[in-house]
Symmetry: C2
Amino acid sequence: MRIAELSRLTGVSVPTIKYYQREGLLPPAEFTSPNQARYDDEHVRRLRLIRTLIDIGRLPIATIREVLDHLDQPHADLHQMLGQALKATGCSREPITDEAVAAADRYVDELIIRRGWHVGPYAPARQTVAEVVAALRGLGADDIVMHLDEYAESAERIAATDLEIVRRRAEPHEMVYGAVIATILGDTLVAGLRRLAQEDASARMFARPHSETSAVASAR
Amino acid sequence: MRIAELSRLTGVSVPTIKYYQREGLLPPAEFTSPNQARYDDEHVRRLRLIRTLIDIGRLPIATIREVLDHLDQPHADLHQMLGQALKATGCSREPITDEAVAAADRYVDELIIRRGWHVGPYAPARQTVAEVVAALRGLGADDIVMHLDEYAESAERIAATDLEIVRRRAEPHEMVYGAVIATILGDTLVAGLRRLAQEDASARMFARPHSETSAVASAR
């Protein structure tokens, strides 16, 4: 198909498609003649993925390029392939390093040992968790830190669902693709479901007899 | 204490403290004389919360103002107070509305009925979940959508932990404060724990005999 058709099918404007090509997010078209670029279903699929990572995943272009690079690279070992692709989906901000984070880091090490998790010593998510633990302590919210094992158990269940989805896919490429979108969109999905479940739990725990309707009204 | 001491205790520079005051994030100081502003422990605490919401929660200033406004407002009903504060922590982006999202919205309604959740019809998280479901379907990932109930069950467990933390706090103000930081920092916390648990699940499911050490090496 031509670029106009690609644009129509995906809802992405022609200048934006060209921008993604310049940024290396979209593979080049096949040129059937010097002025005739041809696109195929793989371009449609890739473009939809890019838009979703931007609109729902809210990832910056540089992170998307890194994620897509990993999707395109064949690896011999599926575990390594998943590890590389998912590492790119993590937070790429500057790590915070201070005494409080170092102390929290040891606390996260202990959690990982307690849960028997096989996790590399340089996994970026270790740092993320340590930073949150340090921040919670800094806010005096040690009671939240005390529930870390419960949150870890819920995270295990989520990861088990993620990996079950991956395992059922036939091709290694499809598996990695599935893991990336399940994780990136899954963060937003779980955050949304968590807020719905909180509203339910709060209604059961705290609502006054008349308050179900007023909670509904207040949410308008 | 004076502003210099407030800055030293919190690590936030004096111009930044003044900026937060102009933006209405930080309550005004008490003036003991026309040139002598005095700050107290409540300012220290508030400033630490603001920094955490920016650094870890990555919330924009306008959202932080809204969250803080709810923390400062007394409500008669704890359920409504939690609902209002947590609503402000949701994604404040423009909602996507199209046929695919409308179809996904009905799917989310069914999920809510299936789980017996007490959720108001206009809860913003409904829209978030519907948008993710529509996006997953658009990417051909119906296999992920099929696992929505499993993710919902994990979200219920997370929400139960959140509310347990809230319930154990003594004062309504402390409860809402706890719910807000547990939710905002908790999204990052759960995302980090999920990645660690995924690495573990992937190692168990897919790693070749030699690959544990190489996965570690690849994560450096």
